[in-house]
Symmetry: C2
């Protein structure tokens, strides 16, 4: 099927990025928002994205390190092509529609990307209302990081035309698109979603079965947990553990550097989801206890100026 | 304590590298070998190391990518200093002693690095005989990757003067030295081992408690296992899983690229150590079964020309 009209439901950090990148790639894009208040909060995000895309394209004219995959193919970068791409940014900015009206947003949508709050209740309510406004043709995907599409397939009323499409933050320069099917997703929906991801200059990664955490987090979580266990058991300190990883694998960052970027609060919230974290005899308990100590001291990670490393006062 | 005389027990791949690097760093180094046959097998390894060190130093004169941390500090690299270091290589090669004589090897040793076969029986027998020939002053460390120093502390007859010092392969360019104590290792032994590691231009990483796998493998094994589970459960294919990791973390290699380097036989041998690998209902079983299929086809990894990736016929 041909996709022309894309609607993103939700205008948060990711929702606005997905919408802007899709508009930059030539789709007719609408952002559906729950309220006028949400529209007010979304607009500055779109302004910021316009500015970021324009600045990045200007920087790309002379600085190879500024290259962002989502903006164009590396071999196409020239001062002229960057200047031309800036016109695409302005067109995207001008054409992007924001609305709270269900029929306006969804009545003729070909592809809907749901990026509403990570709450089962809110998503179910959204999908049930959505079903009343969508034409039969429309494919729907969720960008949820932590919830599974099978939890919502029935609520959409179109399980075969429903799946997941998961983005990383700052999608113009981190172009992974994990495309995941649930048991009822049709091949056509899966393949169309993969093609759509490519068409907005993302690198699609096929997740052929439902998997909590998709591909990346399915590896990142046990890896970070193993590193946290070494620290919580006082086997090694974060600097040495990171060095073991970077020297041993050539990676640019070790687990504690990654935890500082992810944020210790997120690490703590993932940790307490493990029931063993309630039992003082386990290493999971020691991990969340030591994370909590650091959080209580305000050592939340890179954004706070201090986490496992000291980044200087913010 | 001052270390002058270093004896490496065992002349395998790692033993010969540790001995050569220690001799290059100015120590009086002896390699103890079990038999004349072992001496015959060790000598070509030493010849190869001499050649490799000389070639690397020549390359370093003009090519920054040739830099090897173990040979000198990066800021000291000049054509003249590289030429001067070649004299150190020749001196190391000339002075290195190989012997099967216990008293000659150990009678005045300050520091012994045990790098004999990874067998509990062989190591116990070695340590019991060693104890009869060592002066009281000598510190002893094991380079074992998979066995723990507490398993041998008693057999050495000097538990407080015993610990572990674990190297990576090609130590002149992969300079990690994981220094691990068992519960009875004295502070002095631990700190002296760390200082010794630094003195042969390794980067010492402190492992403050006994930990199977030290720091690096304690993270690498669960990380690789998580990736293997995604593959064995048919959630994703190796290429997409690797891409998720390299795009998501900036690492130069994903888990299946690393498995190809490590070798699938090693991955399989680690896999079957897990008792769940015997139970067909588990993912561990599926992982070792699928590894076995590839091994049976000769797809053993990089060295075989094919593993998860195709490297062209060897």
């Amino acid at each position: 099927m041909e996709i022309k009209n894309v609607t993103v439901a939700g205008g948060g950090v990711l929702g606005s990025q997905i919408a802007f990148q899709s508009a930059y790639s030539g789709y007719n894009v609408t952002i559906w928002l729950r309220s006028e208040g949400s529209i007010g909060r979304c607009k500055p995000k779109i302004d910021y994205l316009r500015e970021t895309y324009l600045k990045t394209l200007d920087a790309m004219k002379t600085d190879p390190r500024a290259y962002a995959y989502g903006l164009m193919a590396q071999e196409d970068v020239t001062p002229e092509s960057c200047e031309a791409a800036k016109a695409k940014v302005e067109a995207a900015y001008k054409n992007l529609k924001l609305t709270t009206d269900w029929d306006e947003a969804f009545g003729d949508a070909d592809f809907v990307i749901e990026a509403v709050a990570e709450s089962v209740e809110q998503k179910v309510a959204f999908y049930e209302e959505l079903a009343k406004h969508l034409p039969e043709k429309t494919l729907v995907v969720t960008n949820s990081s932590t919830l599974l599409p099978s939890q919502f397939a029935e609520a959409t009323g179109r399980p075969a035309k429903y799946g997941a499409l998961h983005f990383a933050n700052e999608i113009w320069s981190h172009p992974t698109a994990e495309v995941m099917r649930h048991a009822g997703t049709s091949d056509e929906t899966f393949e169309t979603t993969i093609a759509f991801a490519s068409s907005i200059r993302m690198i699609p990664l096929r997740v052929n079965k439902e998997q909590p955490g998709y591909l990346l987090n399915s590896m990142l979580v046990p890896f970070l947990n193993a590193a946290e266990a070494l620290w919580a058991n006082e086997v090694g300190d974060p600097i040495d553990i990171d060095r073991a990883w970077t020297l041993g694998t050539g990676a640019p960052a070790g687990p504690f550097r990654i935890l500082d970027i992810v944020g210790l609060t997120t690490a703590y919230n993932i940790g307490i989801m493990d029931p063993r974290s309630k039992d003082p005899s386990t290493v999971q308990y020691r991990i969340v206890s030591r994370l909590k100590e650091k959080i209580d001291k305000g050592e939340l990670g890179l954004n706070a100026g201090k986490g496992f490393y000291d980044y200087g006062k913010k």
